[in-house]
């Protein structure tokens, strides 16, 4: 489904991604963990070319794009096969919740207005915002905004949805409502790559956990195994820092 091969990314002289290989199967939910600055966001953004990798190959389905010489058409195609949910929501500020969801359907997918509206309303109802169709982002709470962001991604019916720390900008009491929505989507069998620090979510929902550090994938595997018996010392250290109960014994 998604195949990343030898993805390399530099910011100036700083190599942020080092020969990353990652394959995600259709319907799989992959959670990416790792300390801040390890390259998780950059990796996710390389998949839809918000960041241009310096070398490697990004493939989604039949479409394989060599990062050395991607054409505009290739980049466009990769973006149309994916959708992204951003840490800071990035809703279109000047559009209502409904318009935010409709925008891509009308402008990019060329759906008729009525059809786009119907589909958008349906998806917004699914994320529990059927009563907020005409609200502007500035009139919504963080949790509601992020649910619009998820609806915007979902409505496009992409082959995969990329989530970049979807709950880390939220007040703690809003995290649950957004995770709940993501959990429900995961059950529908949509391919997802989720960068998150929510361990409970990773344990329950992920088919696979990928641990990154310093621009490389240190270890990946079944969440039960990674969380209980990580092979690598770096993974162990990270999990120890991030899981509070592990610290009680000190």
């Amino acid at each position: 489904m998604i195949r990343l091969r030898r993805i390399t990314k530099f910011f100036g002289r700083n190599q942020v991604l080092k020969d990353i290989d990652l394959t995600v199967e259709k319907g799989e939910v992959v959670v990416i963990l790792g300390p801040s600055g390890s390259g998780k966001t950059t990796l996710l953004r390389c998949i839809n070319y918000l960041e241009k990798p310096n070398a490697g190959e990004v493939a989604i389905g039949e479409l394989a794009v060599d990062c050395k010489r991607p054409s505009k058409k290739d980049i466009q195609a990769l973006r149309r096969k994916t959708a992204m949910v951003f840490q800071h929501y990035n809703l279109f500020k000047h559009k209502t919740a409904l318009e935010n969801v409709m925008e891509g359907l009308v402008v990019v997918r060329k759906l008729a207005k009525e059809e786009a509206r119907e589909r958008s309303v349906r998806v917004l109802e699914k994320v529990g915002l059927g009563d907020k169709l005409d609200a502007y982002p500035s009139q919504l709470s963080g949790g509601q905004q992020q649910r619009v962001g998820i609806a915007r991604a979902l409505a496009l019916e992409p082959e995969a949805i990329l989530f970049d720390e979807p709950t880390s900008a939220l007040d703690p009491e809003r995290v649950g409502e957004v995770l709940e929505v993501i959990r429900n989507i995961a059950k529908e069998g949509i391919t997802m790559i989720v960068v998150t620090h929510e361990m409970g979510f990773a344990r329950d929902v992920a088919n696979r956990v990928v641990f990154m550090d310093g621009g490389v994938i240190v270890e990946e595997g079944d969440p039960k195994i990674i969380f209980s018996r990580p092979k690598e010392e770096r993974t162990r250290q990270f999990l120890k820092r991030i899981t509070p109960e592990a610290n009680y014994s000190i």
Binding site: R79, M84, F92, H94, R109, Y136, S138, L156
Partner: protein, 236 residues
């Protein structure tokens, strides 16, 4: 000197006939200057080779020289260029057949384009990169993203500056009288020339300009409230 209040009213009524000319010059030069200024702003923001640096030079030159100088340069320079080109190609067209107002329109468009390019540029830079990224993430092309997402937000943020520029150009349009265009200011001079009541005539002109300015401010205010309903934040 004795003030003749009755003549202020007489002049006021007579000056009204020049209001359309003033508005025409202002609106056309602001509209054309806005389009040109937008292109200039995009060349600069996207660092287009050749056009980008050229635009930057153009903006510093135009903003660094008075509006009256632009008008005089166009008024005296353009006919020579046009006649030269026309002669070289053997056309019968001569610059004398160009109405004076056209020189004013061209010169003021140039003036406005430089100032408005800065207004547009700051408006565009006020839109966060996350908006553009979100547009890309749903599959939009760059032109689609700029047209649908960036421009509307930049425009909303620019309304106060646009309104200021518009008022500046309205007041600046009085310079057109130097190339024999009868706008409000020139009309005041004409109206007063028969009886030397210049003070009264210019009071009437001032009142008209003030009224037009207030009108522009009001319209901008209404537009801003209408367009900015999505913006609940800010310091206000």
């Amino acid at each position: 000197m004795k003030l003749d209040p009755a003549f202020i009213w007489t002049a006021f009524v007579k000056l009204l006939s020049a209001v359309p000319t003033t508005l025409f010059i202002t609106v056309v030069s602001v509209a054309a200057g806005f389009l040109l200024g937008t292109a200039i702003a995009l060349f600069r923001i996207y660092k287009v080779p050749v056009l980008g640096p050229l635009s930057a030079g153009y903006v510093t030159f135009i903003r660094g020289t008075p509006m009256l100088v632009h008008l005089l340069l166009i008024y005296y320079g353009l006919p020579a260029v046009i006649d030269g080109v026309s002669a070289a190609f053997g056309w019968s067209f001569r610059s004398v057949s160009i109405p004076y107002v056209v020189f004013a329109l061209i010169a003021f468009t140039i003036t406005a384009s430089a100032y408005l390019s800065e207004v547009v540029r700051s408006g565009l830079l006020s839109v966060s990169s996350g908006q553009l990224e979100a547009a890309y993430s749903v599959g939009m092309t760059t032109p689609q993203a700029i047209r649908r997402i960036v421009f509307p937000q930049a425009f909303a943020a620019s309304i106060p500056n646009l309104s200021n520029s518009f008022i500046g150009m309205l007041h600046g349009s009085t310079l057109a009288f130097t190339v024999s265009v009868v706008e409000i200011n020139a009309k005041a001079q004409i109206v007063a020339s028969t009886n030397w009541k210049y003070f009264e005539a210019y009071i009437a002109a001032a009142v008209i300009f003030w009224g037009l300015t207030v009108l522009i401010e009001r319209l901008a205010g209404v537009l801003e409230r209408k367009i900015n309903i999505y913006n609940r934040g800010g310091v206000a």
